[in-house]
Amino acid sequence: MSAGDASQEGTPHVEPGPQAGQGAQAGQGPPVKHGPPVKPVRGRGPSVVTRLMETRYLGWIGLAIALGAPLIIATPYALNVMTSAAIFVMLAVGLNIVVGYCGLLDLGYAAFFAVGAYTGGVMAAELDIPLIATVPAVLVVTVVAGIVIGAPTLRLRSDYLAIVTLGFGEIIRICATNLEITGGPSGIYGIPGLFGDDVLTEPAAFYYLTVLIVAVAVLLAARLGRSRLGRAWRFVREDEDAAEAMGVHTYKVKLAAYIGGAVWGGMAGVLFAAHLTAISPPSFTFLWSALVLMAVVLGGMGSTPGVVVGAVFISLAPELLRDLADYRFFVFGVLLILVMIVRPQGLWPHRSQETARTAARSKEPVA
């Protein structure tokens, strides 16, 4: 992003327009006078689809679908697949913080997933405590992991970051394979459940629990995206120099995104460990990182509903497209290229218009 040249370029054509009423107001701070009122956001009539895609109740609808799914099919296998899909949604939402909000390409996201799963799994198994008790420790470890990998590399060009994260992903996987404490190539077994061994072992119950946890994770990630920090991430993604000029410490902000992604990934890892009760290195290969990335990109970078739908699609694809099993990853690769060329904003892009709610000024002006 080194715009090394401050060279003058041809100035674009400018359309003359009628002069609006201008109010000059002297004094300290911003002037109080109001200009023309904000135009209502609804211009052309939105289609049913658009209205559905932008409804405020989207989150509730999604949650209802997820909670209602076992009513349609509730075989142990189906519940297993759906639980995995929910965990995958959490991963995708976490990666979306890094890639979608902040525009940093992380190709080793599975590493944070692994760090969370192993930290939780090893602690719970060794100390014989419920997984949930390891959450504070997992939080600390994932944050540290985020800093360790982010701190030296976030100062670099974004493409270097991509490769370094790729290398980091491999480092974590190889460490898990070689170390004694992680059980070597065969991994660790018999991880206690979230609340100990005998609680919530019913697949359906565990599915509902997972859905609720993931729903909270999705909500929190979306809230982060709409905050001061979330805006700063988008500023960095759009133009680092302009963001700096506005006082955004781009390095710190990027590190925050990275840590956020690490925490979400790590927590998903704990869920994963609870779900399978056994983890081993092959679960954390580059393939996983790439699949999560695909979910984010296909769904729509920066768009929470898009990413959720993308993640559900990617994780259910092997079940739905059984005949295409051999072609699946090939198709994903081609799809990734096509989406970037034809529709880089993804299938369900982040809204380009602010809603009337967020754009409205308060009734009485704050002086």
């Binding site: 400018v14 904000v38 905050s227 001061r228 988008r234 133009d239 506005m246 006082g247 410490h249 704050v366």
Partner: protein, 298 residues
């Protein structure tokens, strides 16, 4: 450091060179080089509180480079930049912005894929009180601060007189409106010093007249302005002082009227044949003439 003088009635161009009590920005003996080429070679100038200072000079004279040194985007190899007495050379742009400096870019650098409002909200980043936990839990403070940011954005968009959709993407606005948004964004930072890099470039007459008015209204808020501009009419009209650069150093400093008469300036800036009449003509043109005057073309 003499006492603060009364601000003249806003007709900067006609006001005499005044003493400014508080020096806001002091650039001393600034030097910058790109691979052996001296872009800035011993530049010194200052901007007082609430003052409008124009930096002019031919293309390649080092104007934008000087701005980039002041705002931390370039690291000068020598000299000092003091902001309110604090040395800022070697600091990151963000931390210099934190000291109360805002800028616009020669070619507008807006966040194209974000809404107009979000662009201006960027200016509120430094002073908006909102923690990550406020955002996660949607505390009352979160709601309050978000509303505050939105209100502030609207207020500055009103102030710069933006026409057009505010909730939509900024890249859908016409060029002239984008320049307004960039200024609004810089103002939402509530800066003590605003650096404008060729704000009039590419604007038509009406827009230039509005810009002139806008710059004065910004100054009337108490914000000091440093202005790089090629439009001589605008410069002469609005500035209280003019710094003329050539080959990376200042060749003249003074009130517009003084600078205009300086033979070195006339020669360096407008070429050998330019004279008073041409400048006067240029000045006329801003007030409603027919053609844009672009100085600095050699």
């Amino acid at each position: 450091m003499s006492e603060r003088s009364e601000r003249s009635g806003g007709r900067g161009g006609s006001s005499p060179h005044k003493e400014h009590s508080m020096t806001l920005l002091q650039v001393t003996d600034l030097r910058l080089s790109f691979g052996g080429v001296r872009a800035i070679d011993g530049l010194s100038f200052e901007v007082g509180e609430g003052e409008i200072v124009s930096v002019i000079g031919p293309n390649g004279a080092g104007k934008t480079s000087a701005f980039n040194c002041v705002t931390g985007f370039y690291k000068p190899i020598g000299g000092s930049v003091l902001l309110d007495g604090t040395p800022v050379t070697g600091r990151r742009p963000a931390s210099i912005a934190g000291l109360g400096v805002s800028r616009t870019f020669q070619n507008p650098r807006l966040f194209g894929e974000l809404s107009v409002l979000d662009n201006v909200r960027a200016g509120t980043h430094l002073w908006l009180r909102q923690s990550v936990f406020d955002a996660l839990l949607h505390t009352p403070r979160y709601r309050r601060s978000e509303q505050e940011a939105t209100d502030e954005a609207h207020r500055w968009l009103d102030f710069v007189g933006l026409r057009g959709e505010r909730a939509g993407l900024v890249r859908n606005l016409p060029y002239g409106e984008q320049r307004r948004v960039e200024i609004a964004r810089a103002l939402a930072r509530r800066p003590k010093l605003l650096l404008l890099d060729e704000p009039a470039a590419g604007l038509n007459h009406t827009e230039k007249a509005e810009l002139l008015d806008l710059i004065r209204r910004i100054r009337d808020l108490g914000t000091a302005i440093a202005l790089i501009e090629h439009d001589m009419g605008l410069v002469m009209e609005v500035s209280e002082r003019v710094v003329v650069l050539n080959f990376g150093r200042e060749i003249a400093v003074g009130a517009p009227a003084e600078v205009r008469r300086d033979p070195a300036v006339v020669e360096a800036y407008l070429g050998r044949d330019a004279d008073e009449e041409e400048l006067a003509a240029a000045r006329e043109q801003v007030r409603g003439g027919r053609e844009e005057v672009r100085g600095g073309t050699d």
